[in-house]
Symmetry: C2
Subunit: 219 residues, 2 copies
DNA sequence: GTCTATAAGTAGATAGAC
DNA sequence: GTCTATCTACTTATAGAC
């Protein structure tokens, strides 16, 4: 409540920057506290453990992002039955441009993607908890826009969309190299348009000849 | 040259299993050597450092996989101008089913994906070295199948395809949960068909209205 | 080539003064 | 709430016997 930034936030800010760049296992609490300008013991006082720091970093950004996703979906459904492109946009845009300024956005994007790829069991669990209602909601809306797809196939394709989103956010340096700088993921609007076009076409693709995903009882 | 497996291979096998499950930073050399049943010092004798172990694990699988990709592309081009679906298959199939039996395949898939997502700088570099000729080759073939796309746009979309592939290979557990078990990435053929259908449609998608990727000189 | 023993450094977490 | 000092455990890496 004082004028200067709270220790807790200093830790979270530094953690976000460092975790997104080097991964959770690649950053020690000592590196973290040095970067944040706070004392090592203060981290344990405020968070209790490194694992709790990771969870807090995660929750601070992912929850608003998912609220934004659901809000965009609400707005779309108020105006009628949404197009596939619009649904994909609601899924992708909040991840690409939630943060305001550019360096913060890039940090945040990499953080999301990195946390999604982290091997630690507690993170995988946390992710599923945070995402399950988002997944359920998008599945229903996608299914009403794509009635010919089974429930399982819709979910599989949604997973593809999340995959290319995460991969784009995480590996911005390779994208720039691959495209000789012409496609920069830091350019959110261009990236968004490209992802939406690609992903919407993929969602609408014909079901392959060996539709294993239809055989189960999950249709 | 003795009857039993060489120490070097024991280390590489254990490293592949452990790295793919917990990430490079999540596995110590002690855990590794214990799992492999070899002595800690033997690792330094044979490899010199942990970093060299990682590189060796990587090279053992990625090089044959990329050779397979280029061979499939050769075979396709011998028979005429390949379809988008065929090119995508050449890019994706070697990753999904190079290894023979199922547990080994899953381990290998996760290894590839994990290494691709690893933050360490030397791994990013190594990946680019191994992949640059594959990328160049696929770009040319894709462009001849999709002449309306700019070079940069082709590369961006190829990156999307690799992204959903990596994500699928890495997060097989979430896919099973998302789809209530109906879509199992361990079922390589079903997964392959789904990816090819989705990715080919994405590659063929119309170029979005704001084609930032066309403005540069990289067309 | 393989081992034991150990160096030299870093990890997360705590106790207790202020 | 924040600090110093420290504990315990684990990390990579190496020296040197066999």
């Amino acid at each position: 409540m004082s004028g200067r930034a709270a220790t807790k936030d200093l830790v979270l800010d530094a953690a976000e920057a460092l975790f997104s760049a080097k991964g959770v296992d690649g950053v020690s609490l000592r590196t973290l506290t040095k970067e944040a300008g706070v004392n090592l013991a203060a981290v344990h006082y405020h968070f209790g453990s490194k694992e709790e720091v990771v969870k807090a970093v995660f929750a601070r950004r992912i929850r608003p992002m998912n609220r934004e996703r659901l809000a965009m979906l609400d707005a779309l459904e108020d105006r009628g039955r949404p197009e596939v492109e619009e649904i994909v946009t609601a899924l992708v845009a909040p991840a690409l441009r939630l943060a305001g300024d550019s360096p913060a956005r890039q940090r945040f994007m990499r953080l999301c993607a990195r946390l999604y790829s982290e091997p630690a069991e507690y993170l995988q669990q946390l992710y599923m908890e945070e995402f399950s209602q988002v997944i359920d909601r998008f599945e229903r809306v996608f299914r009403s826009a794509l009635p010919s797809l089974s429930r399982a196939e819709v979910r599989r394709r949604m997973h593809f969309v999340v995959g290319l989103l995460v991969h784009t956010m995480l590996n911005s340096a390779p994208v720039r190299r691959w495209t000789s700088g012409a496609c920069d993921p830091a350019d959110a609007e261009s990236t968004l348009a490209a992802i939406v076009s690609f992903a919407a076409a993929g969602m609408r693709a014909p079901v392959p000849d060996t539709p294993d995903c239809v055989r189960g009882g999950v249709t």
